[in-house]
Amino acid sequence: MISGVSTIITQDGDLYREFQWSRADGKFVQVAFPGMFPDLTRGQAEAAQAAVNSGQDSWKLDAVQTVQHWSLIGGSAKLVEGGGPNDLTAVVNVTYPEPGSPANIPVTRVTLNRLEGNSNGIWEITSVGSDWLFIYTPTSGTTISSPQTVTGFGPKFEAQIGTVYILDRLYQKIQVGDNYAMAPDGFSPSKFSLDLTYKSSIKGVTQEGLVELVHTSGASFDYGVVMVKVLITG
């Protein structure tokens, strides 16, 4: 079908794809929907919008509740920007406090946008980041293939900055083998580079997915997540 932004959205079983006209290429090319959750593709998001319009899943009209519904983030969510009835964007800070944790604990910053810029649209998480933990590559919306080099930056704990995952269209982890983002030297915070292998369940087809970096340490409040939306080749 034709989407609300004049792209072609297709459904093939549980595989949703989106194609957009490329003036430079003179043909339709597959593109990534910017959303990560509650919908990973535009086809699913527009179906979800229709369901909300008919009275279902009204939590999707609340930015904070949308963040709280995503188990990959969890934590304690607080609206810090936008998110009102007339707003098209929202920023929610997520922390993982525990009794006795210090005042300035790491914050994961979640950005949401209303679907297709419509003030009646559902909220879609479009960015999960922070000012202390980063994925440099791949960048948002790019196409990855296995093995994929993932680079980033963050604090280390016992030489490990975090764990990197590749999530497919069903949020299933499809990376294979070593996925630890290790600090190359003794400094913290530090850059990292990791060649990551994955195995797609559908060969020869490109699907939408996520690259995720999760930082953990000995303290539960010292936790953070960053994610990048990508197209995953099969």
Partner: protein, 502 residues
């Protein structure tokens, strides 16, 4: 209550400050000769004889002198007859002998001031009898000011309306009436109206408020002339006009009844009439009905009635289109309607011949899909006349699953811009491309092994061109292939994209 009604009323009130149409003065080229206006002086002086012929000759000379002086005075006072003379305008416009020639000159207060302007038409030789139309101001100066120019009206005509607007007629070569015919067999079928706009400093196209029995002022004034001669006197009855409208646009076949809700009397210039079709035998007792608003032509109680809008009392609204507004394809139609399984009905864009040049199924946008729902649909249309806007109608019909005709309808008068725009989201496909059979032919589908689903369209290339997404299904009903085609209004759509489903 209705804004349509009010606007139509404003439009059809007789001009208060404007002179009557009788101030117009139209002369045909054949009727006036400059030689007749200015007598030639005598060739030789009369001989000094004392007979009575000398006296008669002297008197004649005096008369000629008086007439000549009078003519000079007239020219100096700005009333020279030459302004009304078509030949006067040939050098001003720059016509070429054997190619074109000024055909007529009409004077009127087109700018709504006390000064007269001239409507000058220029006819070309040739089988298509093209007409150029000019309007000039400062018509008595050596260099009149050109206010307006409209060229190449095939078999064209232009005249001043009762409102001192300029009305034109011409052939739309590609209309359903004329397409495929020789020029000689074509009929002028496209009528436009241009009114002075002080802000633009020129004449701009305007919409006549009427939708039926006439869509344009040119046609309406011609109809009025016939009514004045005793023809089509049913047009003097608002209920008859409303009933005829219902038959023409809704196809209601059962007995029709009408009820005047307001106005409609001999001294009224407005009327509201409810038209109702008898309920279907054995069906629901709710009768299909619509409310027709009418105005007398030019707000004159002696004139015929013209329907200026159709609305519904309760079940259907169309809120996104203002009467007489200029719309472009695709046009977004929004409102509320009573839905059955989320379907409200059909939307149509009607051109100057009431032909359907755009259509879409109207479905609910928000809500449970039964009862009153809001709708929003983008309807594309493609007009046959590309040289400028034409008068047309936006219509939304409320349908029911058990009746062929609509339960009710809303109709709004508009100007249809031929130039499309680009919008986001799905829009209705061109009328022909909505038929699966059209795509079966394009794709060469064997209907024994597959079928074509409902095509959807959009500005997928990000420009005003329209593309179609066409799904093809296997015989078992499962999706097989998605195609995208470009140039879908042409004879040979071009395939842009093909995606095989796993």
């Amino acid at each position: 209550m209705s804004t349509q009604h009010d606007i139509g009323k404003e439009q059809e009130v007789p001009p208060q400050t404007l002179p009557s149409p009788h101030t117009q003065d139209t002369l045909q080229e054949e009727k006036v000769s400059p030689a007749q206006t200015f007598p030639q002086p005598p060739q030789q002086p009369p001989r000094p004889t004392r007979n009575r012929w000398f006296v008669v000759a002297a008197i004649g000379i005096v008369i000629v002198l008086i007439l000549s002086i009078g003519a000079v005075v007239l020219v100096q006072s700005g009333q020279r007859p030459g302004v009304k003379d078509p030949a006067y305008w040939d050098p001003i416009i720059g016509t070429q002998s054997g190619v074109n020639k000024v055909e007529s000159v009409s004077l009127a207060n087109i700018m709504n001031t006390s000064a007269l302007q001239a409507l000058v038409t220029v006819r070309y030789t040739g089988t298509d009898a093209r007409l150029d139309v000019y309007v000039f101001n400062n018509i008595n100066s050596a260099k009149p000011t050109q206010l307006f120019k409209l060229q190449d009206l095939v078999k064209g005509d232009a005249k001043i309306s009762g409102y001192n607007t300029v009305m034109t007629a011409e052939v739309d070569k590609n209309s359903t009436l004329n397409a495929g015919k020789s020029i000689s067999a074509m009929t002028p079928d496209l009528f436009r109206e241009f009114a002075w706009s002080a802000s633009d400093g020129t004449l701009v196209q305007a919409a006549f408020p009427g939708i039926f029995p006439d869509l344009t002022r040119y046609q309406a004034e011609a109809s009025q002339a016939l009514v004045n001669q005793g023809q089509d006197t049913w047009k003097n009855d608002p209920q008859a006009v409303a009933k005829a409208l219902a038959v023409k646009f809704f196809g209601w076949q059962r007995t029709l009844t009408t009820k005047v809700l307001s106005g409609g009397g001999p001294q009224d210039v407005d009327a509201t009439v409810q038209v109702q079709e008898a309920p279907m035998q054995g069906g629901p007792q709710q009768s299909p009905s619509a409310i027709v608003t009418l105005s007398r032509l030019q707000g004159n109680t002696h004139n015929m009635w013209v329907a200026i809008g159709v609305k519904d009392g309760t079940a259907l609204t169309l809120t996104s289109i203002q009467p007489k507004s200029l719309i472009a394809s695709p046009v977004k139609l929004e409102g509320k309607g009573s839905a059955f399984e989320n379907t409200v009905g059909m939307a149509y864009i009607l051109d100057h011949l009431y032909s359907k040049v755009g259509q879409a199924i109207v479905t609910g946008k928000i809500g449970p899909g039964m009862g009153t729902v809001t709708y929003s649909t983008q309807v594309s249309y493609d007009t046959s006349f590309k040289q400028g806007p034409q008068e047309g109608i936006v219509e939304v019909q409320l349908t029911s699953p058990i009746e062929a005709g609509p339960q009710t309808a809303v109709m709004v008068k508009v100007l249809l811009d031929p130039k499309p725009v680009a919008v986001l989201g799905p829009v209705s496909c061109p009328v022909a491309a909505q038929q699966p059979g059209y795509w079966e032919t394009v794709l060469g589908i064997d209907t024994n092994t597959g079928s074509v689903g409902m095509a959807s369209c959009g500005n997928l290339k990000g420009d005003p061109s329209l593309q179609a997404l066409v799904p093809v299904y296997y015989a078992n009903g499962q999706p097989g292939t998605y195609y995208v085609y470009d140039q879908i209004a042409g004879a040979n759509p071009v395939q842009l994209f093909k995606l095989l489903v796993r």
